[in-house]
Symmetry: C2
Subunit: 349 residues, 2 copies
Amino acid sequence: MRPDWLDAPIVVPSQKHRQDALSHQQQLTKPPGSLGVLEKIAVDFAGWQNKVLPELEKLKIVVFAGDHGVVASGVSAFPQSVTVEMVKNFSRGGAAITVLAKNLNANFEVVDVGTVTDPGPLPSVISSRVGAGTSDMSQGAAMDEKQLYTAMEVGRQAAIRGHKEGVQLLIGGEMGIGNTTAAAAVGGVLAGLSPTLMAGPGTGLDSEGVAKKAEVIQKALDKNMPDAKDPLSVLRKVGGFELAALAGFYITSAQLGIPVLVDGFITTSAALAAVRLRPELADWMLFAHLSEEPGHSALLAAIGGQALVDLEMRLGEGSGAAVAVPLLKMACTLHAGMATFAQAGVSQG
Amino acid sequence: MRPDWLDAPIVVPSQKHRQDALSHQQQLTKPPGSLGVLEKIAVDFAGWQNKVLPELEKLKIVVFAGDHGVVASGVSAFPQSVTVEMVKNFSRGGAAITVLAKNLNANFEVVDVGTVTDPGPLPSVISSRVGAGTSDMSQGAAMDEKQLYTAMEVGRQAAIRGHKEGVQLLIGGEMGIGNTTAAAAVGGVLAGLSPTLMAGPGTGLDSEGVAKKAEVIQKALDKNMPDAKDPLSVLRKVGGFELAALAGFYITSAQLGIPVLVDGFITTSAALAAVRLRPELADWMLFAHLSEEPGHSALLAAIGGQALVDLEMRLGEGSGAAVAVPLLKMACTLHAGMATFAQAGVSQG
């Protein structure tokens, strides 16, 4: 049964504070508009925080990890054991996202939504296992309804923890060998794009591997017949535990009035499912980077998002979002810290 | 007389440390190449610092300010008085670049290379006035040879100060009403592109203003007949004091073994002049952002540079470079802080 919280109200950003922030921008000692995207970001945060001079000091990064039954069909360059090995690496602080989270002084946690083997208790890792990986979507549905809603609830709880911690931004990351395959399937169905367009190298497939991956996705679509008009069934049939958790995480964030910075290919696919469920959610999303994964630009177009940077990254984990955080911080710092023409005695054009 | 230092040796980045850094990158717990541009940056810094694990902790930002005689021909949306007004704003910390420099904990100084009116002693402002603005290049040469070499020496001294302070990165910024006109002239001659292609809105001209600006540049070229094969004469005839200082700053940085992060349109024009003088300099340059100023992409192509980000900025002052600094820092932090596959017990693909 579709949980009630999915349909709870999403906060409406404050138009008044957006307008006031926009007026403030026009008074700062620079040619109007010359800070480009940074001006827009400051205005977005003003609307989100109900403050003319917003700040971005506290943020939380949550990496959702899960395994994928479809890996049995040979869709990844890395063995499935890597998902749990990387969970341990996150816990010890050796992975890219943990190095970045520490650098950003961000609250950080890993949520095990369902890896194949249970890594047991680990520092910074929350065990919320929905199952020992999904079922192979090329043979049937990746998960059942109960698993779907449980995984979404796991994401919801992570957003609620962030809210209790008082963070001003939430970043969802993911880890899961095989999850570009699930993300390509989910994103492709929702955006109306073929597996051939959506399948990419992931962690490093060659062109033959990519072609096979597209075939496996097509097989999963033929088997499951997911309906683009029903994003929940798409997530259930051809998604993954971490994708479902991310969708729940994004929706809850917006319900709690916290903006999210979407990372790359996999997270955008989950974000697209979430936005199709709750279109108002789009007002709470920023998109960090354009991934090298070839399907990402099409997913961004489908969701109407504009990536802040293109650094040819394709790592996942939330790393592309973490790298973009200083841009958001600087946007707020400039907005609040610059002098106005009147304050500085500078002539206007 | 061409000063001797212009031809002093430029440090050769360490190929050994670049190779070792590249090997190190292959061992980190991520798919090879998945950190994209950040991996290349870490390798660049390894070569610059003769260290497999380089760091970026200390940097210096120098804003060169100068006025332009060509403003008399009506090429800017802002009055000339703004140059000095902004120098005062830099000194008091109210401008974008000062907010960013503080945020980055960067050493910061403004160098007055020749504004129309002398602002007098101000905190953080170094007075190295070559003249009270350049001459109007539409009527003759913008400066004489002595002024050119003095301005370049002013830039050189700023780089030497940075070296003494032990910085690992230098950023040059600029302020000068009318300096997109000079930069368009210098860059256009050196890149072989017409004034119509190079002239843009600057601080905010409308299309009529841009057309007039292109005409003024054409007039300056007809009058001065600068020779693209002689970058020094191009800087002298149609450049500006801050452009010449930037060229000297960039060359000296590379002679001292300090990389530079080039900002936007005006600085790229000065960088192009510097690289044409000393091609080895290109090994020490990173390019921060693609400016909204329409000629910038052509200048980047001419210098063979790739901008790290495109945030639709067009402010100058070094602001685009400052905004990109966290990306460089993160590249070094990831490179040094991530675990290797062996350390983390993660399987390789």
